[in-house]
Symmetry: C2
Subunit: 134 residues, 2 copies
DNA sequence: CGGTATCCACAGGGATACTG
DNA sequence: CAGTATCCCTGTGGATACCG
């Protein structure tokens, strides 16, 4: 799972609208389904354990939660701390870098909550028109 | 192709952290790879034609661009206007609802551009440590 | 020009079982 | 508790060809 390191890969551009641009890939990462939710949870509750996250993010599989946390840790957004107790305890929390993502992500989440009814209405109208035209 | 309309589906919750919540799905939609970029382009340049978008979003296939635009149109975020000329001209632009997404999305995009170097550095460090640790 | 239709490969992601 | 390993299926998304 070492993923491609790409340390010496030529960087075509820093414009996120260009393919192969690191910031476009990054944008894709942090905007991904579970990353948004994990980051949001850690932003709201502070340090969380694995099981807490799994319970709060209804429907996430262990595999995806682990995978998401590993990626976030690798990207320096989340810090993973192991407490060598028995049984072992592991806590996840936002790094300072991760903290800087709180506000943008919170804004996006709030948008989706505030405007979901409008979107739902738009869908119904679109579907209704498709039937008539269709 | 009518996708599930889900008009009468029971809504479990409006908390985006709950599975099956419409706002969580919506968050997933607007955060998706191409939707972010399409919305961003339309936010920057105003009305755009299909071919313009395809050229600016380097690497997007016609299929995905069409699919993304259809979803955004159905969600009421993008308006599609057909000018019955020969050859036909089609323009896409943000609706008022879509406009309200500009700022949150711009903030997120800016974040990824501003912090990409830190993330890249974090990855190298993480990978280096993984090698040492075996 | 601006799509739609079809085929196909592959990765994302779920379910389950097992381990330090 | 906090994962890892495995299997397997679906959806994503590319390539190609054709239509209004």
């Amino acid at each position: 799972m070492a993923t491609t390191k790409g340390v010496s890969e030529p960087i075509a551009s820093w414009d996120p609208y260009e393919r192969g641009c690191p910031s476009r890939d990054l944008l894709d990462q942090i905007g991904s389904k579970w990353a948004v939710l994990v980051l949001g949870e850690l932003g709201k509750h502070g340090a969380c354990r694995f099981t807490q996250l799994r319970q709060r993010l209804t429907g996430v599989s262990e595999k995806m939660l682990t995978q998401t946390l590993r990626t976030l840790e690798r990207d320096g957004l989340v810090r993973r701390t192991v407490y060598p107790e028995v049984p072992v305890r592991v806590e996840y929390e936002l790094t300072p870098l991760g903290q800087t993502l709180r506000e943008p992500l919170r804004a996006l989440t709030e948008w989706s909550v505030r405007h979901v009814t409008e979107v739902l209405a738009a869908r119904e109208e679109y579907d209704a028109r498709s039937e008539n035209a269709g």
